[in-house]
């Protein structure tokens, strides 16, 4: 049972993919995990302070929404790279 570096990379990418495809209004809002408050640039510093004092659930929600906004476009490139790698060498 060798679990090398490549499976780890693949696992991380798959996990990020899984987080990134969670639908905001069809799934997250239904179970109450939606970050409903839109962050305005002016109050961002204050809001971050509030979020930082909250619970594990709030932190998880924050992590999910951050992953969704941040990784959406890079994931396209990463996924296509991985597909090409798998086609050539897998």
């Amino acid at each position: 049972m060798f679990f090398g570096l490549m499976p780890l990379i693949k696992m991380t990418i798959l996990m990020i993919n899984a987080i990134a495809i969670l639908s905001e209004d069809r799934f997250l809002a239904r179970i109450g995990w939606s970050t409903a408050t839109p962050a305005e640039p002016q109050t961002f510093g204050m809001q971050q302070q509030i979020v930082a004092n909250e619970s594990i659930k709030a932190k998880t929600m924050n992590l999910i929404s951050a992953t969704r906004t941040l990784m959406r476009i890079p994931l396209i490139g990463i996924n296509s790279l991985l597909i090409i790698y798998e086609l050539l060498l897998g």
């Binding site: 049972m1 510093g45 594990i56 932190k59 992590l63």
Partner: protein, 321 residues
């Protein structure tokens, strides 16, 4: 820092320079609050940007270009500082030297501590004060040479390499040596260490532990378990199944206890004054309980899974016996 005395409107900038924006772009200041700043200072960071950007829009003659160029120069300056800070944050070359500042006595004592942590008494790292670069007194931790509780990188790195060589040797003793085994084992051990760091980082994020301890501390602590695994693997060659389980149980417990006590001062910083880098926020009771539970889970359950897979993930056991 050293870009401060750089003339902002030199026409011939070095070719390695970041491309200078031609019109005022206030974004880089918003993007890069200094990582070590308190979050309450975020608002004040934004304030000067519109004041610098907006007059440039109104004037449409030569000073506009000057202004734009100055803003652009400032943007590159800030970006350069940002890159320097982040490089300094993630790639602490000078900090690595601190971790290898060990002596023979320290290594022997620390090995004894990892294998027999039950009677050790003060677990907190000792620090002292010195005059920092900015002229004010700053606290710092003593290097491993002078403090037994300080994490080092020497033992983890050596144990890591020894683990790879030893498990390959055991394959050889079982008559199934293959040069690929070296690479497989190294990759596997690396994966375990990285997974551990990921787990502890996610835990820190979720539990809101904003410690200023570096990543390298955690890497060092996750490497100490290779010492116990090496002992277990050495016992494997004797061929006795019961002795092997006994030794594994002992080394696992010792390592978990060691981690629990050591990480307590990394992850659960106390607010008393004897800690030189003491954080000043107050932690309420439930949060503290949660952190303790996470620490326990990490140092017992997660370590059990990882140590077991590291020491028995190979099939040489039955063949060597």
């Amino acid at each position: 820092m050293q870009r401060g005395n750089y003339p902002p409107n030199t026409a011939a900038s070095p070719p390695l320079h970041h491309p200078v924006p031609q019109h005022p772009v206030p974004i880089p200041v918003m993007h890069s609050p200094p990582p070590l700043q308190a979050s309450s200072a975020y608002g004040s960071t934004y304030a000067p940007t519109p004041a610098m950007g907006h007059p440039a829009y109104g004037l449409l003659n030569d000073p506009t270009a000057q202004m734009a160029f100055q803003v652009g120069g400032r943007a590159t300056e800030v970006a350069g500082q940002y890159v320097e800070q982040n490089l300094g944050k993630y790639l602490q070359i000078s900090a690595l030297k601190h971790y290898f500042n060990v002596s023979n006595g320290y290594v022997l004592q620390k090995l004894g501590l990892v294998l027999f942590p039950w009677r050790h008494r003060p677990w907190s790292r000792s620090g002292s004060q010195r005059t920092g670069a900015s002229g004010q007194m700053e606290g710092y931790f003593l290097p491993p040479r002078e403090d037994i509780n300080s994490p080092d990188m020497y033992i983890p790195v050596m144990a890591f390499v020894t683990y790879i060589l030893l498990s390959t040797l055991l394959y050889g003793l079982a008559g199934r040596f293959n040069p690929e085994q070296l690479g497989y084992t190294a990759s596997f051990a690396f994966t375990i260490v990285i997974l551990e760091i990921i787990i502890i980082k996610i835990g820190c994020y979720l539990l809101n532990i904003n410690n200023d301890s570096q990543l390298l501390d955690l890497v060092a602590y996750s490497g100490y378990k290779f010492v116990g695994i090496i002992v277990t693997l050495t016992i494997t060659t004797l061929g006795s199944k019961w002795l092997e389980y006994l030794v594994f149980g002992y080394t696992f417990n010792a390592n978990a206890f060691f981690l629990l006590r050591s990480l307590k001062y990394v992850l659960l910083p106390d607010t008393t004054a004897d800690n030189p880098r003491s954080t000043t926020y107050a932690v309420n009771r439930t949060q503290r309980n949660r952190r303790t539970q996470f620490l326990f889970l990490y140092s017992y359950l997660v370590q059990l899974i990882f140590m077991w897979s590291l020491s028995s993930g190979f099939s040489f056991r039955s063949a060597a016996a």
